[in-house]
Protein backbone atom coordinates (compact mmCIF):
# COMPACT_ATOMS: atom_id res chain seq x y z
CA UNK A 1 0.00 0.00 0.00
CA UNK A 2 1.53 3.35 -0.94
CA UNK A 3 2.41 5.75 1.86
CA UNK A 4 0.53 9.00 1.76
CA UNK A 5 1.22 11.97 3.99
CA UNK A 6 -0.45 15.09 5.19
CA UNK A 7 2.41 17.54 5.34
CA UNK A 8 1.88 20.74 7.28
CA UNK A 9 4.59 23.35 6.82
CA UNK A 10 4.71 26.14 9.40
CA UNK A 11 6.44 29.30 8.28
CA UNK A 12 6.26 33.02 8.86
CA UNK A 13 7.52 35.95 6.88
CA UNK A 14 10.66 37.96 7.59
CA UNK A 15 12.19 41.12 6.15
CA UNK A 16 14.18 40.56 2.99
CA UNK A 17 17.71 39.78 4.21
CA UNK A 18 19.17 42.55 2.05
CA UNK A 19 17.30 45.18 4.08
CA UNK A 20 18.89 47.20 6.87
CA UNK A 21 17.00 46.66 10.09
CA UNK A 22 16.68 49.10 12.95
CA UNK A 23 14.94 48.31 16.23
CA UNK A 24 12.61 50.81 17.89
CA UNK A 25 10.92 50.65 21.29
CA UNK A 26 7.18 51.20 21.14
CA UNK A 27 4.48 51.25 23.82
CA UNK A 28 4.01 47.48 23.52
CA UNK A 29 7.69 46.61 23.30
CA UNK A 30 10.31 46.45 20.60
CA UNK A 31 9.58 46.44 16.88
CA UNK A 32 11.38 47.12 13.62
CA UNK A 33 11.41 50.65 12.30
CA UNK A 34 8.99 50.94 9.37
CA UNK A 35 8.30 47.22 9.65
CA UNK A 36 5.19 47.26 7.47
CA UNK A 37 7.12 49.07 4.73
CA UNK A 38 9.96 46.54 4.56
CA UNK A 39 9.80 44.05 1.68
CA UNK A 40 9.25 40.59 3.09
CA UNK A 41 10.02 37.02 2.10
CA UNK A 42 8.99 33.63 3.43
CA UNK A 43 11.38 32.70 6.21
CA UNK A 44 14.40 31.07 4.51
CA UNK A 45 14.34 27.82 6.46
CA UNK A 46 10.57 27.45 6.11
CA UNK A 47 11.17 28.08 2.40
CA UNK A 48 13.45 25.01 2.28
CA UNK A 49 10.90 23.03 4.29
CA UNK A 50 8.21 23.93 1.77
CA UNK A 51 10.34 22.69 -1.15
CA UNK A 52 11.04 19.45 0.69
CA UNK A 53 7.33 19.04 1.48
CA UNK A 54 6.33 19.59 -2.14
CA UNK A 55 8.95 17.13 -3.33
CA UNK A 56 7.83 14.54 -0.80
CA UNK A 57 4.19 14.97 -1.82
CA UNK A 58 5.15 14.55 -5.48
CA UNK A 59 6.96 11.29 -4.71
CA UNK A 60 4.05 9.97 -2.65
CA UNK A 61 0.89 10.41 -4.74
CA UNK A 62 -2.18 11.17 -2.70
CA UNK A 63 -0.19 13.28 -0.25
CA UNK A 64 -1.07 16.90 0.41
CA UNK A 65 0.76 20.01 1.62
CA UNK A 66 -0.55 22.88 3.75
CA UNK A 67 1.38 26.04 4.50
CA UNK A 68 0.33 27.47 7.88
CA UNK A 69 1.50 30.99 8.58
CA UNK A 70 0.99 33.57 11.28
CA UNK A 71 1.69 36.87 9.55
CA UNK A 72 -0.02 40.19 8.85
CA UNK A 73 -2.30 39.09 6.03
CA UNK A 74 -1.65 42.08 3.79
CA UNK A 75 2.10 41.40 3.86
CA UNK A 76 1.55 37.68 3.47
CA UNK A 77 -0.52 38.28 0.36
CA UNK A 78 2.45 40.07 -1.24
CA UNK A 79 4.83 37.26 -0.31
CA UNK A 80 2.45 34.64 -1.69
CA UNK A 81 2.76 36.19 -5.15
CA UNK A 82 6.24 34.66 -5.43
CA UNK A 83 5.85 31.64 -3.16
CA UNK A 84 2.70 30.40 -4.91
CA UNK A 85 4.57 29.63 -8.14
CA UNK A 86 7.09 27.36 -6.43
CA UNK A 87 5.05 24.56 -4.89
CA UNK A 88 1.46 23.34 -4.68
CA UNK A 89 -0.13 23.87 -1.26
CA UNK A 90 -3.22 24.97 0.60
CA UNK A 91 -2.70 28.09 2.69
CA UNK A 92 -3.92 28.48 6.27
CA UNK A 93 -3.55 32.00 7.65
CA UNK A 94 -3.50 33.28 11.20
CA UNK A 95 -3.57 37.06 11.00
CA UNK A 96 -0.97 38.17 13.51
CA UNK A 97 2.41 39.75 13.97
CA UNK A 98 5.44 38.23 12.28
CA UNK A 99 7.94 40.16 14.37
CA UNK A 100 10.74 38.34 16.14
CA UNK A 101 9.80 39.92 19.45
CA UNK A 102 6.55 37.99 19.96
CA UNK A 103 7.01 35.09 22.34
CA UNK A 104 7.62 31.71 20.73
CA UNK A 105 5.04 30.05 22.98
CA UNK A 106 2.31 32.45 21.86
CA UNK A 107 3.14 31.89 18.21
CA UNK A 108 3.23 28.13 18.78
CA UNK A 109 -0.16 28.15 20.50
CA UNK A 110 -1.78 30.10 17.65
CA UNK A 111 -0.24 27.87 14.99
CA UNK A 112 -1.13 24.66 16.85
CA UNK A 113 -4.76 25.76 16.98
CA UNK A 114 -4.67 26.47 13.25
CA UNK A 115 -3.18 23.04 12.52
CA UNK A 116 -5.78 21.31 14.68
CA UNK A 117 -8.54 23.13 12.79
CA UNK A 118 -7.47 21.86 9.34
CA UNK A 119 -10.48 19.86 8.10
CA UNK A 120 -9.86 16.14 7.68
CA UNK A 121 -6.34 16.18 9.10
CA UNK A 122 -5.34 12.64 10.09
CA UNK A 123 -2.72 12.67 12.88
CA UNK A 124 -1.48 9.25 11.80
CA UNK A 125 -0.40 10.71 8.45
CA UNK A 126 0.90 14.01 9.76
CA UNK A 127 4.40 15.23 9.04
CA UNK A 128 4.84 18.65 10.65
CA UNK A 129 7.52 20.61 8.79
CA UNK A 130 9.07 24.00 9.33
CA UNK A 131 12.42 25.70 9.68
CA UNK A 132 14.68 24.59 12.50
CA UNK A 133 14.79 28.26 13.49
CA UNK A 134 13.54 31.50 12.03
CA UNK A 135 15.45 34.45 10.64
CA UNK A 136 13.53 36.75 13.01
CA UNK A 137 13.27 35.43 16.58
CA UNK A 138 15.71 32.62 15.87
CA UNK A 139 14.90 30.56 18.97
CA UNK A 140 14.22 27.30 17.18
CA UNK A 141 11.36 26.87 19.64
CA UNK A 142 8.04 27.22 17.81
CA UNK A 143 8.00 23.93 15.91
CA UNK A 144 9.01 21.93 18.98
CA UNK A 145 6.24 23.53 20.99
CA UNK A 146 3.61 22.85 18.32
CA UNK A 147 4.76 19.24 18.26
CA UNK A 148 4.51 19.05 22.03
CA UNK A 149 1.00 20.59 21.99
CA UNK A 150 -0.06 18.07 19.32
CA UNK A 151 1.47 15.22 21.34
CA UNK A 152 4.16 14.28 18.82
CA UNK A 153 7.22 12.80 20.53
CA UNK A 154 9.19 11.99 17.38
CA UNK A 155 10.95 15.28 16.70
CA UNK A 156 14.02 16.10 14.64
CA UNK A 157 15.80 19.43 14.25
CA UNK A 158 18.36 20.66 11.73
CA UNK A 159 17.14 18.13 9.18
CA UNK A 160 19.01 18.00 5.89
CA UNK A 161 17.63 14.75 4.50
CA UNK A 162 14.51 12.64 4.85
CA UNK A 163 14.25 9.27 3.10
CA UNK A 164 11.22 7.03 3.30
CA UNK A 165 11.28 3.35 2.37
CA UNK A 166 8.39 1.23 1.11
CA UNK A 167 7.40 0.27 4.65
CA UNK A 168 6.97 3.94 5.56
CA UNK A 169 10.04 4.03 7.80
CA UNK A 170 11.62 7.47 7.94
CA UNK A 171 15.41 7.82 7.84
CA UNK A 172 16.53 11.27 8.91
CA UNK A 173 19.80 13.19 8.97
CA UNK A 174 19.98 15.96 11.58
CA UNK A 175 22.83 18.44 11.86
CA UNK A 176 25.04 18.08 14.92
CA UNK A 177 28.32 19.67 15.95
CA UNK A 178 31.54 19.54 13.98
CA UNK A 179 30.12 19.24 10.48
CA UNK A 180 28.34 15.93 10.93
CA UNK A 181 24.84 14.51 10.91
CA UNK A 182 23.05 12.23 13.33
CA UNK A 183 21.22 9.49 11.47
CA UNK A 184 17.97 8.20 12.98
CA UNK A 185 15.22 5.85 11.94
CA UNK A 186 11.58 6.43 12.88
CA UNK A 187 8.79 4.00 12.10
CA UNK A 188 6.53 6.42 10.28
CA UNK A 189 4.30 9.43 10.87
CA UNK A 190 3.47 11.44 12.87
CA UNK A 191 6.73 13.30 13.24
CA UNK A 192 8.07 16.84 13.51
CA UNK A 193 10.92 17.85 11.20
CA UNK A 194 12.62 21.21 11.59
CA UNK A 195 14.54 21.66 8.37
CA UNK A 196 17.94 23.23 7.92
CA UNK A 197 18.72 23.82 4.27
CA UNK A 198 17.92 20.35 2.96
CA UNK A 199 19.32 19.30 -0.39
CA UNK A 200 16.93 20.70 -2.95
CA UNK A 201 17.52 23.73 -5.16
CA UNK A 202 14.86 26.41 -5.36
CA UNK A 203 12.23 25.13 -7.81
CA UNK A 204 11.66 27.15 -10.96
CA UNK A 205 8.54 29.30 -11.16
CA UNK A 206 5.58 27.35 -12.43
CA UNK A 207 2.73 29.69 -13.49
CA UNK A 208 0.26 26.80 -13.62
CA UNK A 209 0.91 25.94 -9.99
CA UNK A 210 0.72 29.64 -9.19
CA UNK A 211 -2.72 29.96 -10.78
CA UNK A 212 -3.93 26.83 -9.02
CA UNK A 213 -2.62 28.03 -5.65
CA UNK A 214 -4.06 31.52 -5.98
CA UNK A 215 -7.57 30.06 -6.25
CA UNK A 216 -7.24 28.91 -2.63
CA UNK A 217 -4.83 31.55 -1.32
CA UNK A 218 -7.16 34.52 -1.73
CA UNK A 219 -10.09 32.86 0.11
CA UNK A 220 -7.67 31.70 2.81
CA UNK A 221 -6.47 35.27 3.32
CA UNK A 222 -10.06 36.49 3.50
CA UNK A 223 -10.92 33.78 6.04
CA UNK A 224 -7.91 34.57 8.22
CA UNK A 225 -8.79 34.95 11.87
CA UNK A 226 -6.88 37.33 14.13
CA UNK A 227 -4.41 35.61 16.42
CA UNK A 228 -5.56 35.63 20.03
CA UNK A 229 -2.26 36.63 21.62
CA UNK A 230 -2.25 37.46 25.31
CA UNK A 231 1.00 39.40 25.31
CA UNK A 232 2.50 37.01 27.85
CA UNK A 233 6.01 37.25 26.51
CA UNK A 234 9.15 38.64 28.01
CA UNK A 235 9.77 42.20 29.14
CA UNK A 236 12.47 43.80 27.05
CA UNK A 237 14.95 46.05 28.85
CA UNK A 238 16.56 47.06 25.56
CA UNK A 239 16.99 46.07 21.93
CA UNK A 240 19.76 47.67 19.93
CA UNK A 241 21.85 47.25 16.83
CA UNK A 242 25.53 46.88 17.63
CA UNK A 243 27.80 49.61 16.37
CA UNK A 244 30.28 47.39 14.64
CA UNK A 245 31.31 49.32 11.58
CA UNK A 246 35.04 48.76 11.16
CA UNK A 247 37.62 51.11 9.76
CA UNK A 248 38.53 48.96 6.78
CA UNK A 249 42.04 49.28 5.39
CA UNK A 250 41.73 48.62 1.66
CA UNK A 251 45.03 47.52 0.11
CA UNK A 252 44.99 48.01 -3.64
CA UNK A 253 48.73 48.45 -4.29
CA UNK A 254 50.39 45.69 -2.23
CA UNK A 255 52.03 42.95 -4.29
CA UNK A 256 51.20 39.30 -3.76
CA UNK A 257 54.33 38.54 -1.73
CA UNK A 258 53.73 41.43 0.64
CA UNK A 259 50.12 40.38 1.13
CA UNK A 260 51.13 36.77 1.77
CA UNK A 261 53.77 37.93 4.28
CA UNK A 262 51.27 40.11 6.11
CA UNK A 263 48.57 37.44 6.23
CA UNK A 264 51.04 34.82 7.42
CA UNK A 265 52.31 37.08 10.19
CA UNK A 266 48.73 37.85 11.19
CA UNK A 267 47.82 34.15 11.31
CA UNK A 268 50.87 33.34 13.42
CA UNK A 269 50.49 36.36 15.67
Amino acid sequence: MPNTYQIVVCGGIVPNPLQSLEPVMGPTGPALKNEMMLPAVLDPWAWHALFEAADLARRHPGSKVWLVSMSPKAKLQQVMMSVAQKAAFDLVVVDGPATGFVDAAETAGALANAVKAIPGLDPAQLLLFGGWQSASRGTGAVLQMIGEILGIDEQFQGVDRLSIDDSGTLEILERIEGGAWQKSRCNGAPAVLGWATGNLPEPPNNPQIGMQNMRTIMPALQRATPAALKGDGPTYDSVESPKQRRETRVETEMNTDAIADEITAWLKG
Binding site: V14, P15, L18, L21, P23, P30, L32, H48, G100, A104, A105, A108, A135, G138, T139, G140, A141, V142, Q144, E148, D153, E154, Q155, F156, Q157, E171, R175, I176, G178, G179, A180, W181, Q182, K183, S184, R185, C186, N187, L200, P201, P234, T235, Y236, D237, V239, E240, Q244, R246, T248, R249, V250, E251, T252, M254, T256, I259, D261, I263, T264, L267
Partner: protein, 339 residues
Amino acid sequence: MDDKVLWIGFTDENGSLDKPSLEALTATRTIAEGIDGELAIGLVGGSVDAAAAQIGGAGATRVVALAGEAWAAPRYASDTAACAQIARTVDAGIVVATAGSRFNRVCAGLAQRLGGAVDTQITDILVENGALSVSRWFYRQRMIGKLQRTVRPWVLSIASGSFVPCEAGDATVTPIEIEGFESRTEVLGVEAGTGGSQTIRPDAETLLVAGAGWTKKQADGEVHTDDAASIILEFVESNRASLGSSKSMVDLATEGQAVLPFLTHLHQIGQTGASPRHAKGLSTCCHGEEPHAVGWRFINERRAINTDANCGWAQGKADVLYVADAFEVMKKVNERLAD
Protein backbone atom coordinates in the same frame (compact mmCIF):
# COMPACT_ATOMS: atom_id res chain seq x y z
CA MET B 1 10.94 26.88 43.25
CA ASP B 2 11.97 30.28 41.84
CA ASP B 3 15.32 30.24 43.56
CA LYS B 4 16.31 26.75 42.42
CA VAL B 5 18.61 26.90 39.42
CA LEU B 6 19.23 23.66 37.55
CA TRP B 7 22.03 23.01 35.13
CA ILE B 8 21.67 19.95 32.88
CA GLY B 9 24.73 18.32 31.34
CA PHE B 10 24.61 15.66 28.65
CA THR B 11 27.64 13.38 28.75
CA ASP B 12 29.51 12.12 25.70
CA GLU B 13 30.36 8.51 24.80
CA ASN B 14 33.10 8.55 27.47
CA GLY B 15 30.78 9.83 30.16
CA SER B 16 32.46 13.26 30.10
CA LEU B 17 31.19 16.80 29.63
CA ASP B 18 32.38 18.96 26.76
CA LYS B 19 33.68 22.52 27.04
CA PRO B 20 30.44 24.27 26.01
CA SER B 21 28.59 22.33 28.73
CA LEU B 22 31.04 23.55 31.36
CA GLU B 23 30.67 27.09 30.01
CA ALA B 24 26.91 26.79 30.53
CA LEU B 25 27.62 25.57 34.08
CA THR B 26 29.51 28.80 34.72
CA ALA B 27 26.51 30.75 33.44
CA THR B 28 24.25 28.76 35.76
CA ARG B 29 26.46 29.51 38.75
CA THR B 30 26.33 33.19 37.85
CA ILE B 31 22.54 33.07 37.94
CA ALA B 32 22.39 31.09 41.18
CA GLU B 33 24.81 33.42 42.95
CA GLY B 34 23.12 36.53 41.55
CA ILE B 35 19.63 35.63 42.72
CA ASP B 36 20.94 34.08 45.93
CA GLY B 37 19.50 30.77 44.76
CA GLU B 38 20.32 27.13 45.10
CA LEU B 39 22.31 25.38 42.37
CA ALA B 40 21.34 21.86 41.35
CA ILE B 41 22.96 19.70 38.70
CA GLY B 42 21.39 17.04 36.51
CA LEU B 43 23.45 14.66 34.40
CA VAL B 44 22.09 12.61 31.50
CA GLY B 45 23.97 10.05 29.45
CA GLY B 46 25.12 6.49 28.94
CA SER B 47 27.43 6.92 31.92
CA VAL B 48 28.12 9.93 34.13
CA ASP B 49 31.14 8.82 36.19
CA ALA B 50 33.71 10.94 34.37
CA ALA B 51 31.35 13.91 34.41
CA ALA B 52 31.04 13.68 38.19
CA ALA B 53 34.76 14.45 38.41
CA GLN B 54 34.29 17.61 36.36
CA ILE B 55 31.56 19.39 38.26
CA GLY B 56 32.54 19.30 41.92
CA GLY B 57 33.86 22.84 41.85
CA ALA B 58 30.49 24.25 40.90
CA GLY B 59 29.11 24.19 44.43
CA ALA B 60 25.83 22.40 43.72
CA THR B 61 23.72 21.40 46.70
CA ARG B 62 22.27 18.49 44.79
CA VAL B 63 23.55 16.38 41.88
CA VAL B 64 21.16 13.89 40.30
CA ALA B 65 21.62 11.68 37.26
CA LEU B 66 19.85 9.52 34.76
CA ALA B 67 22.48 7.15 33.44
CA GLY B 68 22.19 4.10 31.22
CA GLU B 69 21.70 2.90 27.68
CA ALA B 70 18.31 4.60 27.32
CA TRP B 71 19.94 8.01 27.83
CA ALA B 72 23.08 7.49 25.76
CA ALA B 73 21.82 8.67 22.37
CA PRO B 74 20.36 12.11 21.68
CA ARG B 75 16.65 11.65 20.94
CA TYR B 76 13.68 13.92 21.54
CA ALA B 77 11.42 11.53 23.43
CA SER B 78 14.04 10.26 25.87
CA ASP B 79 15.86 13.56 26.39
CA THR B 80 12.68 15.55 26.99
CA ALA B 81 11.45 12.94 29.45
CA ALA B 82 14.82 12.94 31.23
CA CYS B 83 15.10 16.72 31.48
CA ALA B 84 11.49 17.07 32.65
CA GLN B 85 11.99 14.40 35.31
CA ILE B 86 15.15 16.07 36.62
CA ALA B 87 13.54 19.52 36.62
CA ARG B 88 10.59 18.19 38.59
CA THR B 89 12.82 16.26 40.97
CA VAL B 90 14.77 19.36 41.98
CA ASP B 91 11.73 21.66 41.60
CA ALA B 92 13.68 23.93 39.27
CA GLY B 93 12.65 27.51 38.61
CA ILE B 94 15.38 28.08 36.04
CA VAL B 95 16.79 25.35 33.81
CA VAL B 96 20.04 25.92 31.94
CA ALA B 97 22.13 23.90 29.47
CA THR B 98 24.47 24.53 26.59
CA ALA B 99 22.94 25.39 23.22
CA GLY B 100 24.33 22.29 21.55
CA SER B 101 22.38 20.18 19.10
CA ARG B 102 21.21 17.83 21.86
CA PHE B 103 19.59 20.44 24.10
CA ASN B 104 18.48 22.54 21.14
CA ARG B 105 16.38 19.59 20.03
CA VAL B 106 14.44 19.46 23.29
CA CYS B 107 14.63 22.75 25.19
CA ALA B 108 11.44 24.31 23.81
CA GLY B 109 9.50 21.08 24.12
CA LEU B 110 10.76 20.84 27.69
CA ALA B 111 9.55 24.35 28.48
CA GLN B 112 6.15 23.54 26.99
CA ARG B 113 5.95 20.31 28.96
CA LEU B 114 6.86 22.07 32.21
CA GLY B 115 4.41 24.91 31.53
CA GLY B 116 7.26 27.40 31.39
CA ALA B 117 9.02 29.59 28.89
CA VAL B 118 12.18 29.28 26.83
CA ASP B 119 14.92 31.54 25.50
CA THR B 120 17.79 30.16 23.49
CA GLN B 121 21.34 31.09 22.48
CA ILE B 122 21.88 33.31 25.51
CA THR B 123 25.13 35.25 25.27
CA ASP B 124 25.09 37.23 28.50
CA ILE B 125 23.51 37.21 31.94
CA LEU B 126 22.91 40.11 34.26
CA VAL B 127 21.41 40.06 37.75
CA GLU B 128 20.48 43.41 39.25
CA ASN B 129 18.72 43.61 42.61
CA GLY B 130 17.91 39.94 42.33
CA ALA B 131 16.23 40.33 38.92
CA LEU B 132 17.64 38.18 36.15
CA SER B 133 18.06 39.57 32.63
CA VAL B 134 19.50 37.66 29.69
CA SER B 135 20.81 38.83 26.33
CA ARG B 136 20.34 37.16 22.97
CA TRP B 137 20.51 38.10 19.32
CA PHE B 138 17.53 38.65 17.03
CA TYR B 139 17.20 38.80 13.25
CA ARG B 140 20.29 36.70 12.55
CA GLN B 141 22.74 38.64 14.72
CA ARG B 142 21.55 42.03 13.51
CA MET B 143 20.35 43.26 16.91
CA ILE B 144 20.76 42.23 20.51
CA GLY B 145 17.99 42.28 23.08
CA LYS B 146 18.07 42.16 26.87
CA LEU B 147 14.97 40.65 28.41
CA GLN B 148 13.38 39.37 31.61
CA ARG B 149 10.56 36.97 32.39
CA THR B 150 8.37 36.33 35.39
CA VAL B 151 7.21 32.94 34.14
CA ARG B 152 8.84 29.94 35.76
CA PRO B 153 10.26 27.45 34.97
CA TRP B 154 12.42 29.44 32.57
CA VAL B 155 14.50 27.27 30.28
CA LEU B 156 17.68 28.85 28.91
CA SER B 157 20.25 27.56 26.46
CA ILE B 158 23.68 29.18 26.54
CA ALA B 159 25.57 29.98 23.33
CA SER B 160 29.01 28.40 23.30
CA GLY B 161 31.95 30.73 23.73
CA SER B 162 30.01 33.15 25.95
CA PHE B 163 31.41 32.08 29.34
CA VAL B 164 34.60 30.49 30.66
CA PRO B 165 34.32 26.78 31.48
CA CYS B 166 33.62 25.88 35.09
CA GLU B 167 36.53 24.45 37.07
CA ALA B 168 36.78 20.76 37.89
CA GLY B 169 36.29 18.79 41.11
CA ASP B 170 34.62 15.60 42.33
CA ALA B 171 30.93 15.50 43.10
CA THR B 172 28.69 12.87 44.65
CA VAL B 173 25.92 11.89 42.28
CA THR B 174 22.50 10.56 43.27
CA PRO B 175 20.83 8.37 40.64
CA ILE B 176 17.13 9.00 40.12
CA GLU B 177 14.44 6.87 38.54
CA ILE B 178 12.02 7.71 35.77
CA GLU B 179 8.94 6.05 34.44
CA GLY B 180 9.42 4.65 30.95
CA PHE B 181 9.04 6.78 27.88
CA GLU B 182 7.81 5.74 24.47
CA SER B 183 9.76 6.37 21.32
CA ARG B 184 9.48 5.10 17.78
CA THR B 185 12.92 6.50 16.94
CA GLU B 186 16.17 4.57 16.84
CA VAL B 187 19.42 6.53 16.60
CA LEU B 188 21.68 4.79 14.08
CA GLY B 189 24.85 6.82 14.51
CA VAL B 190 26.79 9.74 13.14
CA GLU B 191 27.59 10.44 9.52
CA ALA B 192 30.51 12.68 8.59
CA GLY B 193 29.33 15.60 6.55
CA THR B 194 32.50 16.43 4.73
CA GLY B 195 33.37 13.36 2.71
CA GLY B 196 35.64 11.94 5.38
CA SER B 197 37.80 15.06 5.54
CA GLN B 198 37.20 16.96 8.76
CA THR B 199 37.15 20.59 7.73
CA ILE B 200 34.65 22.07 10.19
CA ARG B 201 36.48 22.74 13.45
CA PRO B 202 34.45 24.83 15.91
CA ASP B 203 37.46 25.18 18.25
CA ALA B 204 39.89 26.41 15.56
CA GLU B 205 41.46 29.84 15.96
CA THR B 206 40.97 30.70 12.29
CA LEU B 207 38.01 30.45 9.93
CA LEU B 208 38.71 30.38 6.20
CA VAL B 209 35.71 31.20 4.05
CA ALA B 210 35.70 30.19 0.40
CA GLY B 211 33.41 32.16 -1.88
CA ALA B 212 32.03 31.34 -5.30
CA GLY B 213 34.91 33.14 -7.03
CA TRP B 214 37.09 30.04 -6.57
CA THR B 215 34.99 28.22 -9.17
CA LYS B 216 34.71 31.04 -11.71
CA LYS B 217 36.84 31.63 -14.79
CA GLN B 218 40.23 33.07 -13.88
CA ALA B 219 42.50 35.50 -15.72
CA ASP B 220 43.41 32.85 -18.31
CA GLY B 221 39.75 32.32 -19.16
CA GLU B 222 39.69 28.85 -17.59
CA VAL B 223 38.12 27.38 -14.46
CA HIS B 224 40.64 25.90 -12.00
CA THR B 225 38.47 24.02 -9.55
CA ASP B 226 41.08 21.34 -8.80
CA ASP B 227 43.71 23.98 -8.00
CA ALA B 228 41.22 25.80 -5.82
CA ALA B 229 40.40 22.62 -3.92
CA SER B 230 44.04 21.78 -3.22
CA ILE B 231 44.93 25.35 -2.17
CA ILE B 232 41.99 25.58 0.23
CA LEU B 233 42.48 22.14 1.75
CA GLU B 234 46.22 22.71 2.16
CA PHE B 235 45.55 25.93 4.05
CA VAL B 236 42.88 24.37 6.25
CA GLU B 237 45.10 21.40 7.11
CA SER B 238 48.37 23.26 7.67
CA ASN B 239 46.73 25.99 9.74
CA ARG B 240 44.24 23.64 11.48
CA ALA B 241 41.60 26.12 10.42
CA SER B 242 37.87 25.65 10.10
CA LEU B 243 36.38 25.94 6.62
CA GLY B 244 33.25 27.88 5.77
CA SER B 245 31.64 28.97 2.55
CA SER B 246 29.14 31.42 1.17
CA LYS B 247 25.62 30.30 0.25
CA SER B 248 26.27 30.87 -3.44
CA MET B 249 29.21 28.48 -3.25
CA VAL B 250 27.27 25.57 -1.78
CA ASP B 251 24.25 26.28 -3.95
CA LEU B 252 26.38 25.61 -7.04
CA ALA B 253 26.28 21.92 -6.20
CA THR B 254 22.50 21.78 -6.42
CA GLU B 255 22.60 23.78 -9.65
CA GLY B 256 24.91 21.31 -11.35
CA GLN B 257 27.87 23.71 -11.70
CA ALA B 258 31.56 23.12 -10.98
CA VAL B 259 31.97 22.73 -7.23
CA LEU B 260 34.55 22.07 -4.57
CA PRO B 261 33.72 18.47 -3.69
CA PHE B 262 34.27 18.81 0.05
CA LEU B 263 31.82 21.68 0.55
CA THR B 264 28.30 21.04 1.81
CA HIS B 265 25.53 23.16 3.27
CA LEU B 266 27.09 22.39 6.66
CA HIS B 267 29.92 24.77 5.72
CA GLN B 268 27.58 27.63 4.93
CA ILE B 269 28.11 30.85 6.90
CA GLY B 270 25.47 33.56 7.03
CA GLN B 271 21.74 34.14 6.80
CA THR B 272 20.79 30.48 6.44
CA GLY B 273 24.10 29.13 7.66
CA ALA B 274 26.18 29.14 10.80
CA SER B 275 27.50 32.05 12.87
CA PRO B 276 30.66 30.42 14.24
CA ARG B 277 33.01 31.85 16.86
CA HIS B 278 36.66 32.16 15.91
CA ALA B 279 39.40 34.61 16.82
CA LYS B 280 40.28 35.26 13.18
CA GLY B 281 38.47 34.98 9.87
CA LEU B 282 39.90 35.15 6.36
CA SER B 283 37.45 35.54 3.51
CA THR B 284 38.53 34.58 0.00
CA CYS B 285 36.72 35.14 -3.30
CA CYS B 286 33.58 36.25 -1.49
CA HIS B 287 31.87 39.62 -1.84
CA GLY B 288 30.83 40.10 1.79
CA GLU B 289 27.22 40.89 1.07
CA GLU B 290 25.02 41.48 4.10
CA PRO B 291 23.22 38.09 4.20
CA HIS B 292 26.64 36.40 4.30
CA ALA B 293 28.38 38.88 6.60
CA VAL B 294 25.76 38.44 9.37
CA GLY B 295 27.37 35.03 9.92
CA TRP B 296 30.62 36.82 10.83
CA ARG B 297 29.17 38.52 13.92
CA PHE B 298 31.33 36.47 16.30
CA ILE B 299 34.59 36.58 14.29
CA ASN B 300 36.88 39.01 16.09
CA GLU B 301 39.56 39.87 13.50
CA ARG B 302 38.45 39.87 9.87
CA ARG B 303 40.49 40.04 6.68
CA ALA B 304 39.36 39.49 3.12
CA ILE B 305 40.94 38.87 -0.27
CA ASN B 306 38.86 39.94 -3.25
CA THR B 307 39.52 41.40 -6.69
CA ASP B 308 36.76 44.00 -6.21
CA ALA B 309 37.84 47.02 -4.14
CA ASN B 310 34.19 48.03 -3.72
CA CYS B 311 32.91 44.71 -2.41
CA GLY B 312 30.93 44.44 0.83
CA TRP B 313 34.05 43.78 2.93
CA ALA B 314 35.28 47.30 2.13
CA GLN B 315 32.08 48.77 3.63
CA GLY B 316 33.18 48.53 7.25
CA LYS B 317 32.78 44.77 7.52
CA ALA B 318 36.46 43.71 7.46
CA ASP B 319 39.55 45.10 9.18
CA VAL B 320 41.65 44.67 6.03
CA LEU B 321 40.64 44.07 2.43
CA TYR B 322 43.40 42.93 0.08
CA VAL B 323 42.48 43.62 -3.52
CA ALA B 324 44.26 40.70 -5.13
CA ASP B 325 43.96 37.30 -6.76
CA ALA B 326 43.22 34.80 -3.98
CA PHE B 327 44.73 31.92 -5.99
CA GLU B 328 48.12 33.63 -6.03
CA VAL B 329 47.99 34.97 -2.49
CA MET B 330 46.84 31.74 -0.86
CA LYS B 331 49.46 29.66 -2.72
CA LYS B 332 52.12 31.90 -1.22
CA VAL B 333 50.53 31.88 2.21
CA ASN B 334 50.56 28.07 2.08
CA GLU B 335 54.26 28.11 1.14
CA ARG B 336 55.05 30.36 4.08
CA LEU B 337 52.99 28.30 6.51
CA ALA B 338 54.78 25.14 5.29
CA ASP B 339 58.10 26.80 6.13
